[in-house]
């Protein structure tokens, strides 16, 4: 934290929706298709073509609004944002200006520095994306319009953040929410979640905001943090040199770790918005909102609280498992088959995540289904196998897809709980280690571990360790 200046940050996030088709036409939104192959007169901006709104986009916007505590506007309208750029075939972007679909929301974040804080969300509006531009070496640019008209939600925050840490905490939470809702794939590399940051500084105690600069093109959480921190230092230097910060758009270059001014954008900010006569107003009834509210999944913050409270997981486990919806659903499915959440979380966080990381797999591709994993845990619980053997069984399930019971049967891994059989092994171990027996009897009780280990080894891990322990104590 700077001693002389307060940092003020507001964020604009573009969330690309996972609808099958574009916002105003039926062209596919699939990523990575042949250049200019997913196009039609509407998204090419041909004269006379008329946009028709995708209902799913409205539904997704309502979901995002409800999950970020927004009010849903009963009647919202679309507007044209006018500017010329080669990736925008119509000469305007269809967006919302007055009357966006969601307003006045908030998110609660936690940072180590400050603890909890509530950050305002000004608005969420629906709009279309532009095409993709490639800059060539021969002084030309190439335009691919597959992305033109892809549905976006723009989420605009209040200038409530006071540090890069808060900005990142806000972004991570928003990211988690839209991915949890299933309305965005959250892929930052492919541009599905893009962030612009408005950054300014002001002397502590000053009420008016300082002049801001807008940082563009921030496609990783790390770059966003770097770009904001660089910008704060740059503005302090400008003011300390007796100059004034100018309002401008700056492009962050992650390789060089610096940002550069994008000149000539000042006039382009005069967008002359007006209502788009091609599109009718969108009315969202209370019934529709209720219907969407009922369809919302339990979100990560709610899961986190429930895991810690109701089912009693430690904070760390609850945090890891709730952070990813497929992982949380996996965990909950395991618990459904074997109702001991702490044991389930140990295995999910240990064996399952470890193996997935090893094999570079997502949880959705885990060969050990929740039911198969629960099958292992049930056999530990009823003492058919020990925890150690269970790990072997888990590996075999991973390789074969067979159930725990099949593998235990097939490999003869059933734990020996027959007193006579274990007693025989205990006798052998005692007979084979006279020195240690003497030491133990002489008071070196730590050696019990050694004896149990020997019994387990002699039984190939199948002896019940508790019974071995008892028998050893008795005989020694």
């Amino acid at each position: 934290m700077n001693s002389r200046y307060e940092v003020v940050i507001g964020l604009e996030v573009h969330v690309q929706l996972t609808t099958r088709t574009k916002i105003f036409c039926g062209c596919s939104t699939e990523f990575g298709q042949g250049v200019n192959s997913q196009t039609c007169p509407v998204c090419l901006g041909l004269p006379g073509a008329l946009p028709v709104l995708n209902r799913q986009v409205v539904e997704d916007a309502i979901k995002a609004g409800l999950a970020t505590n927004c009010q849903i506007t009963p009647r919202s309208i679309f507007a044209r944002k006018n500017y010329f750029y080669p990736d925008l075939p119509k000469g305007y972007q269809i967006s919302q200006f007055e009357l966006p679909i969601c307003e006045h929301g908030w998110l609660d974040i936690e940072t180590e520095e400050l603890g909890g804080k509530r950050l305002g969300i000004t608005r969420i509006h629906m709009e279309e994306d532009a095409g993709k531009l490639l800059h060539n070496s021969d002084n030309s640019s190439s335009v691919d319009l597959n992305r033109a008209c892809t549905p976006l939600l723009e989420v605009v925050s209040e200038p409530d953040m006071r540090s890069s840490e808060e900005a990142i905490a806000y972004l991570k939470q928003l990211h988690q929410i839209v991915v949890y809702l299933g309305i965005c794939d959250g892929n930052l590399d492919e541009g599905s979640f893009r962030c612009d940051a408005n950054v300014s500084i002001r002397p502590w105690g000053q009420k008016e905001l300082g002049t801001r600069s807008e940082l563009k093109n921030l496609n990783s959480f790390r770059y966003i943090k770097q770009a904001i921190e660089y910008e704060v230092e740059r503005q302090i230097d400008v003011i300390d040199a007796g100059e004034k910060v100018v309002q401008e758009t700056r492009l962050f270059d992650p390789d060089a770790g610096v940002s550069r001014s994008m000149r000539g954008k000042e006039e382009a900010h005069d967008y002359r918005y007006f209502p788009d006569p091609d599109l009718l107003p969108v009315d969202v009834s209370a019934d529709w909102i209720e219907q969407v509210r009922k369809s919302l999944p339990e979100l990560s913050t709610a899961k986190l609280q429930r895991y810690q409270g109701e089912i009693g997981l430690p904070a760390y486990d609850a945090g890891v498992i709730s952070s990813d919806r497929p992982l949380a659903e996996y965990f909950e499915a395991v618990v459904k088959h074997y109702n001991n959440p702490k044991i389930c979380s140990n295995w999910v966080m240990g064996e399952v995540l470890g193996a997935l990381k090893d094999k570079k797999l997502e949880i959705s591709a885990c060969p050990v289904t929740p039911e198969l994993l629960a099958g292992v845990l049930i056999r530990i619980d009823d003492k058919t196998i020990s925890g150690k053997i269970a790990k072997t069984v888990f590996e075999k399930i991973w390789q074969t897809g067979n159930t725990a019971d099949q593998i235990i049967e097939e490999k003869g891994l059933k734990q020996v709980t027959d007193t006579g059989a274990i007693e025989a092994i205990v006798d052998e171990v005692i007979a084979a280690n006279p020195d240690q027996v003497a030491e133990y009897r002489g008071g070196k009780e730590k050696l019990m571990g050694f004896f149990v280990g020997q019994v387990m080894k002699a039984s190939k891990g199948k002896a019940n360790p508790g019974m071995a322990n008892q028998l050893l104590k008795k005989k020694l």
């Binding site: 250049v35 039609c40 640019s141 190439s142």
Partner: protein, 95 residues
């Protein structure tokens, strides 16, 4: 005067129109007249009347999220003044 020549020059530049000095004079007069008329309308008391968003008294014209056939890259590029490798080719705009 609601609007002066600089305003018209500014709006013309945003719309990529180049106007001759004579045109500029005519446009300034015409746009001033239009805005004068809007001013006249503004004299009406519209308190309690909801702003009109659209000329047609309808809402919620939706389509379902179902894929339709694209027109194909050949037809997409049919009117392109310049093209290369299935891209539209345009003069470079960022230095």
């Amino acid at each position: 005067m609601k609007i002066n020549q600089q305003d018209v020059e500014h709006v013309a530049r945003l719309a990529r129109l180049s106007l001759s000095p004579e045109d500029l004079k005519i446009m300034t007069g015409q746009m001033d007249a239009v805005l004068g008329y809007v001013d006249k309308l503004n004299e009406l008391d519209t308190d309690g009347i909801e702003p009109m968003a659209h000329a047609v008294p309808m809402t919620n014209a939706f389509r379902e999220d179902e894929i339709t056939e694209p027109i194909g890259v050949e037809r997409t590029l049919q009117n392109a003044p310049q093209q290369a490798d299935n891209y539209f080719k345009v003069p470079k705009i960022i230095e």
